[in-house]
Symmetry: C2
């Protein structure tokens, strides 16, 4: 019965990166009448996602941007999801990660703490620059080349913390799931401000006013007033900065404490 159900649906590859035909290579452009290739399609998709957001992104909208009929894109890409996966990995390529140095497990003399901070900042920045990334990263398998490169860089750094191997995957979660969650919130906040056409600080105070006045919410906001104020920072940007860095230092400190305790 299960087999029958699986047979009924289409192949359902779990990711573009698994057994994908990859039609055109991608380097040379202009061979085709329309100058289309995977790289250009992906680049325009990224631009469109940045400009208009994931909910408004459609194959038809993309096609008009490419001066092409909606169905031309399907020559290069099997489904919309495949294309989104390509766009996702493309922006992961923006992250600058330290390359592996073969034979040098110590990876120069850099402190693992500093390297972890740098990787966390790179990841956060991608999530904030491209708010649609968090939704996609949460829904796809994330096995594109650029994300894998990042994730192996993370593994190399964690290896040098001194944590026992059995705890290394947990430590990776503690750092990067936090960054993922934080970047998700921050990215969507920035996106909403841009969509509303107001500054972050304006949007924040308007939102606070709305929440405080809402009948079902106001009575319960009293308790967190003191917390909001103590959070520090004059601007929303400073608030984000402060929260991000204290959280990151808490996690790094937690790893250190665990290492020295052993």
């Amino acid at each position: 019965m299960v087999a029958a159900e699986r047979a009924r649906r289409r192949p359902a590859r779990a990711s573009v990166w698994l057994e994908d035909k990859a039609r055109r290579g991608g380097a040379a452009r202009g061979g085709q009448p329309s100058g289309l290739d995977r790289d250009r399609i992906t680049a325009v998709a990224v631009a469109l996602l940045d400009a208009e957001g994931l909910p408004k992104f459609s194959m038809r909208r993309l096609a008009t941007e490419l001066n092409v009929t909606a169905m031309s894109v399907y020559w290069y890409v099997d489904t919309k999801d495949d294309l989104l996966e390509l766009a996702l990995d493309a922006v992961f390529g923006e992250m600058r990660v330290p390359a592996a140095i073969p034979g040098d497990e110590e990876e120069s003399t850099a402190d693992w703490r500093d390297q972890l901070r740098e990787l966390a900042v790179e990841y956060r920045e991608v999530l904030v620059r491209h708010p649609w990334v968090s939704t996609l990263a949460g829904n796809f398998l994330n096995i594109g080349p650029n994300y894998l490169e990042f994730s192996f860089a993370v593994q190399r750094v964690i290896r040098r913390t001194g944590l026992p191997m059995s705890e290394q995957t947990g430590a990776i979660s503690a750092v990067f799931q936090f960054v993922y969650g934080f970047g998700t919130i921050e990215g969507h906040f920035v996106e909403r401000c841009a969509a509303a056409g107001v500054s972050e600080d304006e949007y924040f105070s308007e939102a606070m006013a709305a929440v405080t006045q809402a009948p079902r919410i106001s009575h319960v906001m009293e308790g967190s007033k003191a917390l909001m104020e103590a959070r520090g920072g004059d601007t929303v940007a400073e608030m984000f900065e402060r929260d991000f860095s204290t959280a990151l230092e808490i996690v790094i400190g937690g790893i250190e404490a665990r290492v020295t305790a052993v």
Copy 2:
């Protein structure tokens, strides 16, 4: 120009919880011919989201489930997004959180570490039980009554860590953004297994095989083989459990270290 652009779009409330008409109260059913009310609509929406997932959820699909025409639902709810926000907060209501004890800031004698663990586990379980929650929680404002109750419980616990107030919001991020990210991954994994109709362990080994054989990926997987094996646990469920608890203990340890350092 910005003002004009804002005027052109519809009011665009940022959340159902802000100035929503809330048409029918919700308690008494049967007054209406079809027995419809917000609570029933929300409950059926949750059931449908659980059963078929967010991408397949539509107002028309929901309406047929309610034995009603597609447009009837719009009497009770302004937009699909509003309904999704209601469904989101409804399942946040599944979390059991310690109630505030007025006047008792110490909140009995319970250890803040234990209380933090409990809250983290509750949140994680919601994310895994309802994989659609993470997408929605990432995209909405999360100011429904149930989520607020949870988030105030979190604030009360963090207050008792001994951290300076300026660092408390950061600590909250460290714990719950991690849980959010972790629950997102875990929830989607569980969902994919169910959709494919195989056990978690079967799905995992199939996925590992696929990834290891993929031409563009295999060469780079060598490095993480040792890590995967050292991670421990015979089953996927044990792996998740192990990673979650070591990560959580790292963060809790990080908070402790920061408190005693002050």
